[in-house]
């Protein structure tokens, strides 16, 4: 199998996937890949693997109420059709968060969850502002509907989505008092992006005038918070003809009532720059934070062309990026710093932490995980502002913003907990079973195979010999390798000997704890 160190070629790799490439692909496309999921792709062609990742997933069951303090929704029932009640909305929001985490943990081999989060970070709304749980659930459903779909269609629906209308004040935008918020962010963040400032109010790709005209187009939309739908009110609409600038070839949009916003979106997407902007965002999400001239011309440009020529269907772009020699350049293996969801859900999935047979108990564990991520600087559902998480746009640090002297101890505390005592919810313990891990190693009686086997599942790069030695010091301090073999076989010969099982378990837990604390574990 070939191995490429650093390529800027967008051409697809030709070799079938080996373990390392399959692992790199899945860990970037999912929130931590199980060993069995990686093995299922070994030997397959990249196009076959991508097809698997694009497969339509069944629509998940709606979120359930799990807090008995919500007196209107019996525990175990969904609340999505229950009218808003300020007294209980908070419990429903938490249910939504936990449910979303649950979707990510339980994901199959699919790009869906990673893309749903990508779109949440792109078409940002936040729970604090929107507040209504059902409206936020519908927003989540919209993210999933178009996660692997047509971006232009997606933008149509997002423009009049109730959550977005609330978040960016579209619902209060009316003739005479158009609110520029959505109009501005539509250009700046959601589609074409700013270019260089070439004159006052002129960002090359669009100008302040374009923003004002766009705001007029978008007037008239409202949200009905009882029926949870948006609707158009012609009396609030600015029916004048809107004239855009040079940046859009002086396009004019006459009154089209409720259909008018589509012309605006069409206009913006007719510019290839929109495709480039979106391609760069996808690149940073899946590949790496730095986009230099070479990447721009050899990777971004062809990706943008693919997106544009496919009328903004995202799948061909993803196929092209995720099949490329550039994506499979080993220089970039492990170059992404895991965000808190990657990190925490990764532990659950890579170590196959068993979930409770009781779904509502799992909601409690997933809710805990939401708070763990919050402490690590990522509040699911509430990015810090409309630009999304700064780790995906703030030059020059980008992903490095996830890691600081506050978040490092949080991450260490999380992994220490799950490799040792675990957490208990309603009597069920969520913890790594080290014997599930040893079950994934070819020969756990060999301490080198054991250590490298764990590392293969958990780390993006192979251990070097000095790291193996250090980890051996954790398992068999100052002892020869065969000590481990002796002790392991003593356990397997009599697995009911609880003393020996404890002895082995302690060593495995110490090994996992040590691997989790390596800087390599932060990387994907």
């Amino acid at each position: 199998m070939g191995s490429i160190a650093k390529s800027y070629s967008i051409q697809a790799i030709t070799d079938n996937l080996d373990y390392r490439r399959a692992s790199h692909l899945l860990n970037r496309c999912m929130f931590g890949a199980r060993k069995s999921e990686v093995n299922a792709l070994v030997g397959k062609s990249i196009s076959s693997a991508i097809t698997t990742l694009m497969q339509i997933q069944p629509i998940p069951n709606p979120p359930l109420g799990y807090d008995s303090r919500d007196l209107e929704v019996a525990v175990g029932n969904t609340w999505i059709n229950t009218p808003f009640n300020n007294l209980y909305n908070g419990y429903r929001l938490q249910s939504l968060r936990a449910w979303w985490i649950g979707q990510m943990i339980q994901q199959g081999t699919s790009l869906l969850e990673k893309m749903t989060l990508f779109w949440h970070n792109h078409f940002v709304t936040d729970m604090a502002t929107v507040n209504y749980a059902t409206i936020l659930y519908q927003y989540n459903q919209l993210l999933r509907k178009y996660a692997l779909g047509n971006i232009k269609q997606f933008t149509f629906e997002m423009t009049i989505n109730p959550a977005m209308l609330i978040y960016l004040n579209g619902e209060s935008s009316k003739i005479g008092a158009p609110n520029e918020n959505y109009g501005r962010e539509l250009f700046e963040l959601f589609t074409i992006g700013k270019g260089p400032l070439i004159a006052s109010g002129n960002y090359t790709n669009y100008t302040e005038t374009d923003i004002r005209e766009a705001a007029k187009v978008l007037t008239g939309w409202q949200v009905n918070r009882t029926t949870n739908v948006s609707f158009y009110d012609t009396n609030r609409h600015d029916k004048t003809t809107k004239i855009f600038t040079d940046a859009f070839s002086m396009t004019s949009i006459a009154n089209k009532e409720a259909e008018e916003y589509k012309s605006l979106v069409d206009m913006i997407f007719s510019k290839k720059e929109t495709a480039r902007y979106l391609a760069r965002k996808i690149y940073r999400w899946f590949m790496y934070s730095i986009i230099d001239q070479t990447v721009e011309s050899q990777i971004i440009e062809p990706l943008a062309t693919t997106l544009f020529n496919n009328n903004y269907e995202i799948v061909p772009l993803l196929q092209q990026l995720l099949s490329s020699e550039h994506f499979f350049s080993t220089d970039y293996f492990g170059a992404q710093i895991k965000n808190p969801l990657d990190f925490t859900i990764g532990v659950y999935r890579q170590c196959e932490i068993p979930l409770s047979p009781n779904l509502l108990t799992n909601y409690e564990a997933w809710s805990d995980l939401y708070y763990s991520c919050t402490n690590m600087g990522m509040i699911l559902g509430d990015p810090p502002d409309v630009a999304g998480w700064p780790q995906y746009y703030k030059d020059p640090s980008y992903y490095e913003l996830w890691v600081n002297s506050s978040t490092v101890p949080m991450r260490a505390s999380f992994t220490d907990t799950f490799s040792n005592a675990g957490i208990t919810k309603a009597g069920f313990k969520y913890v790594i079973d080290p014997f599930i891990m040893t079950g994934k190693v070819s020969d756990p009686s060999d301490v080198n195979i054991l250590i490298n086997g764990f590392a293969q599942i958990l780390l993006p790069v192979a251990l070097n010999s000095s790291q193996v030695l250090q980890l051996k010091e954790v398992v068999i301090p100052g002892l020869p390798d065969n000590t481990w073999t002796f002790e392991w076989i003593k356990y397997t010969t009599n697995p009911n000997d609880t003393t020996q099982k404890n002895v082995i378990s302690k060593k495995l837990q110490a090994l996992l704890t040590a691997i989790f604390r390596m800087p390599e574990f932060y990387l994907n």
Binding site: A5, K6, Y288, I290, T330, D331, Y332, F333, G334, A335, Q336, I337, Y399, E400, V403, N404, S405, V408, P409, P460, V461, Q470, L471, E473, V474, I476, P477, G478, L479, P480, T483, F486, E487, K490, T498, T499, Q500, N502, V503, I504, K506, K507, A510, T513, A514, P519, E520, Y522, L523
Partner: protein, 494 residues
């Protein structure tokens, strides 16, 4: 920084006394370290192919001597700084590395599983809220320090491990991620970034570095860095103690003792080989460390304890080695040690069978009891709670030269006289040149006086304290400077 609970502050435990644990990983062949000269003939019958000539044994007494690889330790014994405890073990000995070490570390019975360590349980009683509220202004230093890959299980408490890990000794002296090199790639760049943040974050690294920078090793007896890993570790420990680190437990280790084969070079040359090499490292390291402490005037504060998970078989095997055994000799060392040999030479039968093992003379928990009571001032009740039972205590500390158990004074640090005091007293302390806070606490944890907030020049300082307003009773006086945190108990008696 957080506030330390007052109850933690008041523990009489934190007297400035330090214990250095030297863990020999693998099961030390004690019979080849502490050689029963009086049993030589029978011993030779059992293990002639690895036993040194009688004339080469370094005599401690007429009956007992050390392996010829240990002249430094022999000299230290003659200086009265070494105690050897024969036949250390426990009932129903387990010959498995993992299990036996767990037993020794957790101080459990052979059939019981305890996950906390013998020092972890002691520390848990003194530092009840750890890690919450640590480090803090009153306890800015690691409670325990493990040199190596993981925090020592000896310091595992019920909630947390009390030990800070120092994996990379050179990180203490450098300003970067040690001499780790990073690949020249996007991955390498991000790895370097994270490694640096992790280093900065290690909560105690800055105080450790400050202590290391405040003093230098003074002994010339340390071997070249990199040639003796135990000496390298003890050298750092000495540096930190001299630099004012208040940490009381240090755990260092040396591996390779599992000498199933070739523990000596050949059946004609027993002076060299794997085991003599290790014994030499142990001997050189302890002697250099003790010499250094003496030169730094810190010897009074430090005791050392050398232990292993089990001893080895009386009869050697055909591979010039020995298999797992049972009882072993412990070494306790320091300037305050009750020097000498505790216990008798093991009795070696005339005909030793291949599975014959040494009988236990002392339960290892008797040694722990000695440390708990004589060095750390725990009560019999405390000790029984920690160990689950009472064990007859071995006298580890020389009662006549060791400091007063009731009101311990770290040497050269704080002195208050008269004590008990009725009106005014003189306080003596060594200033590090920075601003000193001097406070008095009652036994219930309340601060009753905040006396001084001045800067004092470096060196011995003396001041008069007016304590007449205090009611009769016991108090604690705390002197705190940038690199000093000392306390002394005193009594007001009207």
């Amino acid at each position: 920084m957080a506030n330390q609970p007052a109850t933690d502050l008041l523990s009489s435990f934190n007297t400035g006394r330090k214990l250095v644990l030297i863990q020999l990983d693998g099961g030390n062949d004690g019979l080849n370290m502490v050689i029963p000269i009086s049993q030589y003939d029978n011993l030779a019958n059992a293990r002639r192919n690895i036993l040194v000539d009688q004339s080469q044994i370094l005599k401690l007494t007429d009956e007992t001597g050390l392996n010829p690889a240990m002249p430094e330790l022999t000299n230290l014994y003659k200086e009265g700084k070494v105690q050897i405890i024969q036949g250390v073990g426990y009932p129903n000995p387990n010959l498995s590395h993992f299990r036996s070490k767990d037993i020794i570390i957790s101080a459990s019975d052979a059939a019981t599983n305890i996950s906390s360590g013998w020092l972890g349980r002691m520390l848990g009683r003194q530092y009840s809220s750890f890690p919450i509220g640590y480090p803090n202004v009153n306890q800015p230093h690691p409670i325990s320090l493990s040199l190596g890959s993981t925090s020592s299980a000896t310091c595992q408490g019920d909630q947390a491990n009390f030990s800070t890990v120092l994996k990379n000794l050179s990180a203490v002296y450098s300003n970067s991620a040690g001499n780790v090199s990073f690949p020249d790639s996007s991955f390498g760049n991000e790895l370097k970034f994270i490694t640096n943040i992790m280093e900065q974050t290690a909560s105690y690294l800055s105080v450790i570095k400050a202590a290391a920078a405040s003093a230098k090793n003074l002994s010339t007896k340390y071997p070249a860095v990199g040639t003796n890993a135990l000496a390298d570790q003890l050298k750092l420990v000495a540096n930190l103690i001299a630099g004012g680190l208040q940490t009381q437990i240090y755990v260092v280790s040396l591996g390779g003792w599992d000498t199933h084969s070739n523990q000596v070079s050949s059946d004609t040359n027993k002076l060299t080989g794997a085991h003599p090499t290790l014994l030499s490292k142990l001997s050189v390291a302890i002697a250099a460390f003790q010499d250094d402490l003496k030169l730094m005037n810190k010897a009074d504060e430090v005791m050392g304890f050398v232990y292993t998970e089990f001893g080895r078989r009386i009869k050697s095997n055909n591979s010039l080695g020995t298999d797992h055994g049972t009882a072993w000799p412990a070494i306790v060392f320091g300037s305050n040690v009750n020097s000498g040999i505790v216990g008798n030479n093991p009795v070696i039968p005339t005909l030793v069978g291949v599975s014959d093992n040494l009988a236990m003379q002392f339960d290892f928990r008797s040694i722990y009891s000695g440390f708990y009571k004589q060095w750390f001032n725990l009560t019999d009740t405390d000790i029984k709670q920690i160990l689950g039972n009472s064990f007859p205590e071995i006298q580890l500390i020389n009662k006549t030269t060791g400091t007063d158990a009731a009101f311990p004074l770290p040497s050269g640090d704080l002195k208050l006289y008269p004590n008990p005091v009725s009106d005014s007293a003189i306080l003596l302390f060594e200033s590090d040149g920075t601003r000193a806070q001097i406070r008095i606490y009652s036994m219930s944890g309340q601060m009753v006086n905040n006396l001084e907030q001045m800067q004092y020049p470096v060196g011995r300082q003396q001041m008069q304290l007016h304590l007449g307003h205090l009611r009769s009773g016991n108090y604690i006086l705390v002197v705190q400077q940038n690199t000093r945190f000392s306390k002394i108990k005193f009594i007001v008696k009207k």
